[in-house]
């Protein structure tokens, strides 16, 4: 069964066409990759999926429900979260607070006076150890290094117990040692926590290790799809990256 399916989505910004007739399927429990040269429309596609902007035409289904017209918080509450290319964390709050606020809360008047439960705190500590930030849990998130902020953002997403994560270049700007650890953790999140992943990635080594199925975007259209080996040897993909 496909957890996420995108059917013929079009999106343009004024005269600039960012996505033309883009379709993709993400089966439940799988790790799917999206690659493509800079400016090929990967992040636009992510933004369309999570409801960041309205799409011009096409449909997006998550868990068999149409989400093409829902707002970001609604889609997030259905269990689909995204992380950002540039890290988005709450810089003036400590790591623990970053984790707490990422737990499942809503604008319920009963909660206006109540602090977070100890379950939330335990879960936060557990996930912070999972990404290796436990010792830094009382630091302000803004004081962490860029790579650590990426790890924190990943942990924050896990805090919400999502069904699906959309990761926008999780390893960009992260040093090689941390990258290996991150790949391991992404695999663990997928296998142990059952989270379906859709990953945008430029680092070929990473995406070939991670994804079971890869889509390649170029100039806003879906150029090719297939398993990592096929994509790597696809002449059209090589041309798109190197120019022909």
């Amino acid at each position: 069964m496909d957890l996420l399916s995108v059917n013929s989505v079009n999106k343009s910004y004024g005269g600039v066409v960012a996505n033309t007739d883009v379709s993709l399927e993400v089966p439940e429990g799988k790790i799917v990759g999206v690659i493509g040269p800079n400016g090929s429309g990967k992040t636009t596609l992510f933004n369309s999926i999570v409801g960041h902007h309205p799409i011009d035409s096409g449909e997006i289904y998550f868990n068999n429900q149409e989400i093409s017209r829902l707002t970001i918080p609604k889609i997030a509450r259905m269990g689909m979260l995204r992380t950002f290319q540039q890290t988005h964390i709450y810089g003036k709050m400590t790591c623990v607070q970053n984790m707490q606020i990422s737990s499942d809360i809503d604008a319920n008047w009963k909660r206006i006076f109540s602090p977070f439960s100890s379950d939330v705190d335990d879960n936060a500590d557990e996930l912070l150890s999972f990404v290796g930030l436990y010792k830094k849990r009382f630091l302000l998130a803004g004081d962490l290094s860029f790579g650590q902020q990426k790890l924190l953002e990943f942990a924050m997403a896990l805090m919400k117990k999502p069904r699906m994560l959309l990761l926008d270049e999780p390893t960009a700007g992260v040093n090689p040692t941390l990258i290996n650890g991150l790949i391991d953790r992404l695999h663990q999140a997928n296998e142990d926590m059952g989270i379906t992943l859709l990953v945008i990635e430029h680092n070929m080594r990473v995406i070939m290790n991670l994804a079971e199925h890869i889509y390649c975007l170029a100039n806003g259209t879906m150029l090719a799809e297939g398993d990592p080996d096929n994509i790597q040897n696809d002449q059209r993909v090589i041309d798109a990256y190197l120019g022909n």
């Binding site: 970001i72 918080p73 602090p115």
Partner: protein, 344 residues
């Protein structure tokens, strides 16, 4: 560092002193009453301005609305209504003690409710805007309200309104009564806000301040939180307004009720001076700024506004994060150093 227990003791000590202050310095009672008003103003501004990072220049609207609604209820609740030919601004209602306090309580509460209602309606419209756009949008609120109030004959139009005369022969005089009333409101506001900032709701406000896009993408309905925060502020601000209207005894739409250049600006300066985004910052800022203002007025009349401006300038240049913000930053810095050491 001040421990939690010590901090509580200090609060109780402060409250005990505050209760007897009017007897120690009976000549300064109006000044002391205004200190509590200023604390309420700064605290309520800080809910959105500091904790949520949404600078509002329009909070004075709720202050004036509370003042007017309360005054109208006080005037009309027990009297047979206005004589059509009487000038509203000259109507002075005489009430007996029970009528006075009942109409005051009902009026204050109605004022607060109307303010909350306005905050929800206006907030739904303009709190969807981000950052500076919201600030610009709020600029006109107080001014527009003053213009509207100046045009309504029922509210005394440009000449304003007179609040009822405080009944004579009671245990507490007018000054004492409003001192204790506003003291209680300020203390209630302080403890309620303190509780809110330690809760899930408070952390959500901080999350909006730090990164609203992220908060939204994590499923937090940010606009609802902002509206809720603004409504809570509006509630207490309107109560303060109702009190001030009665303390002064006369409501002018431009100079008192919707007075952007005085109360409207002070509330922002006080919160920033003390340290926005902290619970004690606005309290400290209110005490310092209002005391300074009164001192300058007493000793430097004519140059008092210059001196006040200079004080604000010094604070903005040397303590851009406010007095408490400065200390908070240092504390966090030493925390960082400690945990770096613990790591190695």
């Amino acid at each position: 560092m001040i421990t939690k227990n010590k901090q509580n003791n200090l609060i109780w000590l402060g409250l005990a002193i505050s209760t007897i202050l009017p007897f120690l310095f009976p000549n300064y009672i109006t000044f002391l009453t205004y200190i509590w008003v200023m604390i309420i103003l700064a605290l309520t501004w800080d809910m959105l301005g500091g904790q949520t990072g949404y600078t509002s220049f329009g909070n004075i609207l709720f202050f004036g609305v509370g003042m007017y609604v309360c005054a109208v209820v006080q005037r009309d609740m027990f009297s047979s209504g206005l004589d059509r030919f009487e000038r509203v601004s000259e109507v002075v209602v005489n009430l007996n003690a029970s009528e006075y306090f009942i109409s005051l309580a009902v009026g204050t509460f109605s004022g607060a409710l109307v303010a909350v209602f306005l905050a929800v309606i206006l907030g739904s419209g303009i709190l969807g805007m981000r950052g500076h756009y919201f600030a610009i949008c709020t600029l006109g609120l107080g001014h527009a309200a003053a213009e509207i109030a100046s045009g309504i004959e029922y509210l005394g139009a440009g000449s304003g309104m007179v609040t009822p005369i405080y009944p004579s022969g009671l245990f507490l005089g007018k000054e004492e009564f409003y001192y204790y009333a506003l003291l209680m409101v300020a203390v209630a506001t302080f403890f309620l806000f303190k509780k809110i900032y330690q809760s899930q709701f408070g952390l959500a406000l901080n999350a909006i301040r730090d990164n609203e896009n992220k908060a939204e993408s994590m499923g937090i309905h940010t606009t609802q939180y902002k509206i809720a925060g603004w409504s809570i502020s509006a509630f207490f601000l309107a109560i303060a307004g109702a009190g001030v209207g009665n303390v002064i005894g006369f409501i002018d739409p431009v100079e008192i009720a919707f007075s952007g250049p005085t109360f409207g600006v002070w509330m922002i300066v006080m919160a920033i001076l003390g340290g926005k985004g902290t619970i004690w910052g606005p309290v400290l800022g209110a005490i310092i700024l209002y005391s300074a203002k009164e001192t300058f007025w007493t000793y430097l009349l004519g140059w008092d506004k210059v001196a006040l401006g200079l004080l604000i300038l010094i604070v903005v240049v040397y303590f851009p994060k406010g007095i408490l913000g400065y200390f908070k930053e240092r504390k966090q810095l030493s925390n960082n150093i400690l945990s770096q050491k613990g790591e190695s």
